[in-house]
Symmetry: C2
Subunit: 414 residues, 2 copies
């Protein structure tokens, strides 16, 4: 009988969002008339922009005719999309990235997990705490950790605490690490990285030989023109950083599925015998052997994100969600809650009132205001005592949520 | 500096199909007027059936309106698709499979590689030889093998030779193994498994505790009504087998991307301390943590494969490709080539004439007939001296290919 990969047994009970789903379902079954508003999972609510819809209809029609039908495409993505990405996301911002350094995929969630395949198991890994749970979970599955402690911290990982005390900007690791996850704009705290912050990390990686895994899934929400959108805006970054990008949040692709990962040819690792080895061909081998490309129809939709109409329509979407974030922020502040994020990010990160634990506040908010958020401790031990609200919802729901928050929390704090 | 996963360095120069692509590109650059016909990679050529096109247009329109827009779906696939799969692919054939045992994905290539994540590294693995190269390559990447020998056989894997001498039906392993890949209808040999053959494997797995990884991506091409389409048609199989299925070849989804994997709740493995552990929740954890579901639009397209119109249109597609296979088979036989497969599979497996090696015959056919096939040795050491032709092409190209084969090989053999 085969052995399972026992590392899976180290994982805590469930991925954060399924656990939230379980509690919400139970609540709704007990309270069938409650009008629950979900500001929990970061899922978009607005329809796909017209330019994208048009492009996908056209692509579907191409699939209906022999002359224009597409079978297997390049696993790495079609040139039309890779070229558009390079042109608009990188060259336009002065970043030196080539089309064959862009790997189109079906999601950043997959990529941030899959990238670990190409690294040895003995590498040490650092990550912000709190952070998107997939980084931790996929390292646990791969066998780079020991067991979790009572707060959920796994032995062997280097956690970089991000709290109000350090303005959600972590210090450099105190001991050397091989891989460093950075997520900016940050999920869940909404914190952003200045040019100085990213320069500090790039310089650190160059000095120590570390590789940065830079998750920029929320870059479209950056409103401050002084902030970098890509880590490749920092000199030297293409020697030390892999960047993850997604169409999920800027173009509403959470259910349509398209993302990409940038692996510059200049990022190096070493082999067991100490030789330098470029990461690009190793990732290319993984990508072509274990993946078969994104649907042609979806890639044509993603290409339309970069058309003049698509750009404007996506910018309008982002603006809409950021207005939601502002409404939430002001509502929370009006009842004395400490609020972070929400300006260059679609997430509001708040200090739980009354020193409630994150899950207690989750249950409290669900029971008394029929609002669903995400407990900060679900993103890591340093998220305890915090709570995330997502700006991805209709305006009416966001406004109604603020009314409920004011009623409930105004009373609690008073 | 991080260490790479050194196992990648054990891989032979390139995945088979990129190497073919390289040689064809070089030939075409040197011979720009040559009309090259590609019967190499198993990629479909005919457009998507109208029922699928209609369903995808409708789904695209749903994505355009807030009321019907879909964000993140269930990672495992929408119920509408999982239920259709169970109803038509399993219940209709008497197989006891539940909808929550079906995991919808973006491709069988991904799934046959990804499934390895959930098994321990010390498991022993057996596979047919020759066979779809992804099984071997992903085991090498995961670290379950030593180096390759001169014939390309990796130390530590158990190869089950399939040649004309044993009618392409492998013997049971002579030493115990934990995981057994079986591919039926077989890629590349086109061999099929009778009920008796599959019963032998299921009984063997039950007796020894092995788990069968059953790749049935080509089941739609089975024409003989006595042959099982799913391993779950065999009593006891749901205790020992995982099955991989795909929409790539029955419905033309190679560029549209949808597949599924069946993991019955009754398939067991063991933990390091010897306890029994069901595989289903472990795979579910992997799937939900490292994957975010297939595009809603594509899942609606896949659902249409099971509509009355979709079923008829897909059956017509399959019939068309099987007629191509017959034309190829008869053409080859008419010049005295030994031909296998092609009746219940879209692949023709032939013995190379004149005792040429597989790659020599590849170059010979490309240079002299401008035909691209796939060298048998690319599928494994026991494929040396064989060659695969794919029936996925237009009728005109297949007929032209037969003319060229007759001209060239008639001369060679005469």
């Amino acid at each position: 009988m085969p052995q399972i990969n026992d590392n899976y047994l180290k994982l805590k009970a469930g991925y954060l969002f399924p656990e939230i789903g379980r509690r919400v379902t139970a609540f709704c079954q007990e309270n069938p008339t409650a009008k629950v508003i979900r500001l929990g999972i970061g899922d978009v609510t607005e329809p796909l922009p017209p330019a994208i819809i048009d492009a996908m209809h056209k692509a579907v029609d191409e699939m209906a005719r022999r002359e224009t039908f597409r079978g297997y495409g390049p696993e790495q993505g079609y040139d039309f999309l890779r070229n558009a990405i390079v042109e608009h996301d990188f060259k336009a911002r002065g970043c030196d990235i080539a089309a064959d350094e862009v790997f189109v995929s079906d999601g950043s969630k997959c990529d941030t997990g899959n990238i670990l395949d190409i690294f040895g198991l003995k590498n040490t890994v650092a990550m912000q705490d709190p952070v998107y749970p997939v980084y931790v979970d996929t390292n646990v599955m791969a066998g780079r950790t020991g067991a979790a402690d009572a707060q959920g911290r796994y032995e062997g990982l280097t956690y970089l605490p991000c709290t109000a005390e350090n303005d959600f900007t972590p210090s450099l690791p105190t001991k050397p690490v091989d891989l460093i996850y950075l997520c900016y704009p940050n999920n869940p705290t909404g914190a952003v990285a200045t040019r100085e912050t990213l320069t500090k990390w790039v310089d650190y990686a160059k000095q120590t030989g570390a590789v940065i895994l830079f998750d920029a899934a929320y870059e479209a929400f950056i409103t401050d023109p002084s902030l970098p959108h890509s880590i490749y805006e920092i000199p030297g970054a293409r020697d030390v950083a892999i960047e993850f990008r997604s169409f999920s949040k800027n173009a509403g692709f959470t259910g349509t599925r398209c993302a990409f990962t940038v692996v510059p040819k200049t990022v190096m690792a070493k082999t067991a015998d100490g030789a330098q080895q470029a990461i690009h061909p190793i990732w290319n081998r993984r990508h072509t052997t274990k993946f078969n490309g994104v649907s042609y129809i979806v890639q044509r939709g993603a290409e339309a994100v970069y058309s003049p109409a698509g750009k404007q329509q996506c910018a309008d979407l982002v603006k809409f969600y950021l207005e939601n974030a502002q409404i939430l922020q002001h509502g929370l502040e009006s009842v004395g809650i400490s609020v972070y994020g929400g300006v260059n990010a679609p997430y509001i990160w708040l200090k739980t009132p009354d020193n409630k634990t994150s899950w207690d506040f989750f249950d409290y908010l669900l029971k008394n205001a029929h609002l669903v958020g995400t407990p900060g401790s679900g993103f890591g031990a340093s998220g305890e005592g915090y709570f995330r609200l997502s700006a991805f919802n209709s305006r009416a729901n966001v406004e109604e949520a603020v009314v409920r928050i004011k009623t409930l929390l105004g009373r609690l704090i008073a």
